[in-house]
Symmetry: C2
């Protein structure tokens, strides 16, 4: 059973996003039915719309930074009730039984987490549809509480950009006094700076662009390190306890590895691409580590949201109407946004 | 003050090793004077002789897998006495005050550990000379006890090949029941198998060469995985708790990364070279880790030797006389040794 819902979708790799009617399932006993208020625009949305990862299924309804209000809940739902302010991130389901799910790391589900869009839909035929839509119906285990003191619009990007940067900072135990570098200042990087700063780390923005210095400091960076400046890089060599690498494309990791202390780790969260040649000596000398990290589990996403509530952390956003989504994508490609577009989903009513 | 000592050295990048007279310092109050009985032949010896790493200083007297007998000790030496069976590995000194030295990881000394050969000699002018020599004089902090039950000839390679593989297995807490892969079967790899097996791990030899299977099993491997066999690689995907990568040259890490479990680590100990392109997605999906590790500290080297004594672990060796060293180098280049050459240093008397 399903009902028609308004959405915005791309019908092919070349197509602009445009109004679309999609089917949403009728809530089951385990489901939360959510009216979507705001939806952040993630770079992955663009990758999926344009089939960059060769796994897109059309029509693509993107959007996995969803903030909404609970409309109704199934009879087995205990933690949510009508009118609750809730969030939905990158996943809407997982097997709940594998070792990853048992460790509260559903994003690494061995049977494949169901992504919020473009994932196999277990309830209806076809694939899942994301948050560029008036409503979504989600299993209660994949719904998050949004702290009431946060601006809900600015909380939307926490569901992907937030958890993607929070998870490695938290998992690798970044703490007060650590020297932490955040590489790259975009949607992910700006959250990395905010979190590292809020965790009490001495936070260094590492960027190729000197013109990002002022902004980085406003976001909470204690220092800015221009990675193209060899002298500056030399001065910081071997001094970082942790590096969060948010660069979204293939790049040369060697200069960053040289910044790590002995036994320290650089975690990649952005570059789902082939990287340039790493020199083995760079990690052998100093027992250094390179790791990857993908979004975060539901439990830690709630922890992150609670931390944001306690520390008044939200994203820097620019609001748009859904009718401007194609223009926003063009600007995203040029990194022309500080630092995340969020769609006011009320605008969908005008489509 | 110094005295002349017989040795074998290369006088230039192109030269064969030949008999050479070197100076050894007279022992200080902190020193142990050692008559060298056996010296293992490490691939680094060849790299240094041929100036592959562009830092060789001639004449090069190689050798950092030294087993010997104590001749005399300085007045402040407490842990060693004449006739003790001792070992000297890759280092003969370090600052003893930096954070690495304080953590018993002298190999990562922030002021630079003094390597056994080709390092800056603090006592005499010039550079240090290694174990292809009748005697060596070493600071007591860099001398190891060799368990009396071990065959001293076969213990020589423990000082480099042994500790290089022991250290990461120990540091990353390899334990009974873990599934551990050792990649590459040479001087390092054969020790990796022996240690992983002795630690109780389910030990898998990972090699390109099916003809190494029988040997690998004799050394302690429970299974052999042929890395060129895509079907086999697929069957083992995502199943390893730890990978010890002993490949000595640049290579494609991606197939090995796919073998790691979520959160598992592959440690490189051999490839001090540029590696082929790593795909970021391979580590991002599954929060996987790649790290490096270089030899080991003096404290853990003694722990490794004690473990070897308790578990009867030594290297597989082929004895040579010093007069055959150039031929041994030629065979080393062709990986034609099972698995380590050890020089009987008595043969030096005939030079």
């Amino acid at each position: 059973m399903s009902k028609e819902t308004k959405a915005y979708a791309a019908s092919s790799k070349e197509a602009d996003l445009e109004p679309f009617e999609i089917n949403r399932r009728k809530p089951t006993a385990e489901d939360v039915e959510i009216e979507i208020l705001y939806c952040g625009v993630c770079h992955s949305d663009l990758h999926q719309v344009r089939n960059d990862w060769k796994n897109s299924k059309y029509p693509v309804v993107p959007g996995h930074e969803i903030i909404g209000k609970v409309v109704s809940v199934g009879e087995n739902v205990e933690n949510f009730k009508a009118n609750d302010l809730v969030g939905v991130g990158c996943m809407v389901d997982s097997c709940q039984t594998c070792s990853a799910c048992e460790d509260d790391l559903e994003q690494y589900c061995e049977n494949g987490a169901v992504m919020t869009y473009n994932g196999p839909d277990k309830h209806l035929d076809g694939h899942t549809f994301g948050g560029y839509s008036e409503k979504i119906v989600v299993d209660q285990n994949f719904v998050l509480h949004i702290p009431p003191n946060l601006d809900p619009k600015a909380a939307a990007p926490l569901l992907c950009a937030g958890i993607t940067t929070w998870s490695p900072l938290s998992h690798w135990n970044v703490k007060k006094g650590d020297k932490v570098g955040v590489i790259g200042l975009g949607g992910l990087g700006h959250m990395g700076i905010k979190f590292a700063h809020a965790m009490g780390a001495h936070t260094v923005m590492i960027t190729t662009s000197p013109n990002k210095s002022e902004d980085a400091k406003k976001l909470g960076a204690d220092e800015v390190l221009i990675s193209k400046d060899e002298q500056q890089m030399k001065e910081h060599a071997g001094s970082f306890d942790f590096l969060l690498n948010t660069i979204p494309v293939g790049h040369d990791m060697n200069p960053y590895v040289s910044l790590l202390k002995r036994d320290a780790t650089m975690v990649l969260v952005g570059a789902v691409e082939p990287l340039e040649s790493l020199h083995g000596g760079g990690i052998i000398m100093g027992r250094k580590r390179i790791a990857g990290s993908m979004i975060g589990g539901i439990k830690e996403t709630q922890e992150m949201l609670d931390f944001c509530g306690e520390n008044d952390v939200v994203s820097e956003i620019e609001m748009i109407n859904i009718q401007n989504i194609n223009e926003a994508y063009d600007r995203l490609v040029k990194s022309d946004v500080k630092y995340r577009f969020v769609i006011d989903m009320q605008s969908l009513k005008d489509s």
